[in-house]
Symmetry: none
Subunit: 197 residues, 4 copies
DNA sequence: AATGAATGAGCGTTCATTCAT
DNA sequence: AATGAATGAACGCTCATTCAT
């Protein structure tokens, strides 16, 4: 390894781990695979991380920090009944999530294991949702935001590729379809809720 | 293990495997664990299944066969605009899926791994969706049904418990919230679609 | 399995075992492989043979019995200095050994393991040699017959195919070369011995 | 095992493996046995060798390299008709091969398996033969050298002990008998060949 | 004579982790 | 900050063998 200082190495380990975890899952990825692909000595991984689990925990922390970071500027205006501006905002959000999709996929995988006690997926969801509106305060809204908002969103970024492969669908087209569908269901019901209230 | 009929043993292996896979994930579950919990000799597992993967594949096949089986009787009447009857139907469907949630969770976990080539999750989704209406034929509808219909549904059955734990929420209450939210978003948008058409 | 009586089954097991043992070696051949190829139930093998070793022992016994059986008729005349008749006799002997080459190969493999106590290869050699002349009585002759007679012969039948593959050589041509070479070395030295005596 | 240099460990593994392979055969030798006798951790074997087969391949490579190494000095003079000097040279060669007999035995065992594709035994033979004279160029000579030269030689070093046990023969005496016999057959036929030519 | 189910021990291999340097 | 060597435990899987029928 070139002598470029430790932080770069640590970062490379994290990047490779993220890629491999999302590719094969956490448990199906061995520390050896990471060392090979990151081209680091095996013992070095244990210099930077106390164990294999610490790697994935670090990845989760990083993404949570990123999400809590600078909010997106609400440059677009939220006009009633949602015009193309809402769709554009959605697409931007999706493209943002797409860049994080690897680690989010891992988070989701892990959260689906019924045994593991606490999962960061809820914290993650809160942060993603907080990017759009104020944090939901009532439980009904919470459910709504999580299951019909957050979940479809990350499912889309996570599964888009496979979905398109399976159904022989263009990826850009897929985005349009999803956005339209998401707007018609989740976003529209927001307005109704507001209208009802 | 005592000499029981072979099919019973095979079934017990599958049941235990399903439970453990959904608890810890496929890769994090060892054949030894299955062995212990199902109280079968390890070699016997390989008498019934060619390898560990064959177990999960068998589970997937089973659930797909079940789903393609007898459709639910539409005892309730589908009145327009959806009253409590729709909610009841939804709850029934959810309780049906809940009984399959373990294996569906495993399927979802595996489908999130970007590497694995083809996943049965789409076939599964088609079948679940086919239980409600005729199979979607256009791509936009496909996206809609999958990402805002199927996905929230299975996410709910899969994550309900953890969600309730995390947010200190009663599980029955959770069901109501979800049903209401699902109806307001996904189902409502169906009607709109129809109205548009 | 067809109900054709036990002896046929036993014979089939032996035939398959011989083939597989010579293909992969005794230890590298599993009882399962034999059952598969012989299409017999696994437990049935233990009905006919007390264990796996008993199979190979049976094979060895069989071949020793065969070799001790009817001697070849010396139809040809043994003229001095050896003309084509000796070569013909040699070719016949080789073709005879070729039919037994599988089990002889196994015997040779096993005899090369330094640990195994007693090997039937010497008994086998004696019998093969006895087919040609009276049993050697003096030790020098014994060495001569075994190492420069028997050994090259069985090495040829055992390795002929691979040798021809490796050196891109026709198999019939190979036979001629070997016969000529064998006659010039081993057989010729017989005569010398006799002349010396 | 104590922390010694890595190469020492690797060497010890190879030595033990060679001994055990020649004792029981490749397949009948378990990695655990090697582990025990070489007093190395099992995982360490896979640190040095990619799998069990890699061990035997390494052994084969090593011996081939050794054989291709420094040729023996032809200190003795090759007088016609072969006097005691030829016998001495033969004995030296045999004692040289005896030191390699373990690995050569393994090579021979493996080459007798009809299934295994390519065997190093021919390469090995070429090198051994090249130690005595220039490499044979015509096919007849090739056959002669291999089947009546190389094969008896290695058969002798490989089987000498068992042969002597079986026939109650002194090992030194055995050497004399073999040398005499080998000279009378293989070597003598060389001269004839030359004379013919 | 023949079978399907079952078994304990061991296989080759890899795991996450730690050591000394 | 980085490395090569080493480790104990466990992995998935197969072995030869036996059971009841």
């Amino acid at each position: 390894m070139t002598r470029t200082g430790g932080d770069k190495t640590r970062k490379r380990i994290l990047e490779v781990a993220e890629e491999l975890f999302s590719k094969n899952g956490f448990h199906a990825t061995s520390v050896n695979q990471i060392t090979r692909q990151a081209k680091v000595n095996k013992a070095l991984i244990y210099y930077y991380f106390k164990d294999k689990n610490d790697i994935v925990v670090s990845l989760f922390q990083n993404i949570l920090e990123e999400l809590s970071g600078p909010k997106p500027d609400p440059s677009g205006q939220e006009s009633g009944r949602g015009g193309t501006d809402i769709r554009e905002a959605l697409k931007e959000e999706i493209s943002f999530l797409e860049r994080k999709k690897n680690i989010i996929s891992v988070m989701l995988m892990e959260s689906l294991k019924t045994h593991d006690q606490d999962t960061p997926i809820f914290k993650c969801a809160e942060m993603v949702m907080a990017r759009e509106h104020e944090r939901p305060k009532t439980k009904p809204v919470l459910f709504h935001e999580f299951f019909t908002g957050f979940i479809p969103l990350i499912a889309f970024v996570a599964l888009r590729e496979k979905f398109c492969d399976y159904y022989q669908c263009d990826k850009e087209e897929a985005l349009s379809f999803f956005v339209k569908s998401f707007k018609a269901s989740h976003i529209n019901s927001h307005i109704e809720c507001k209208e009802e209230a």
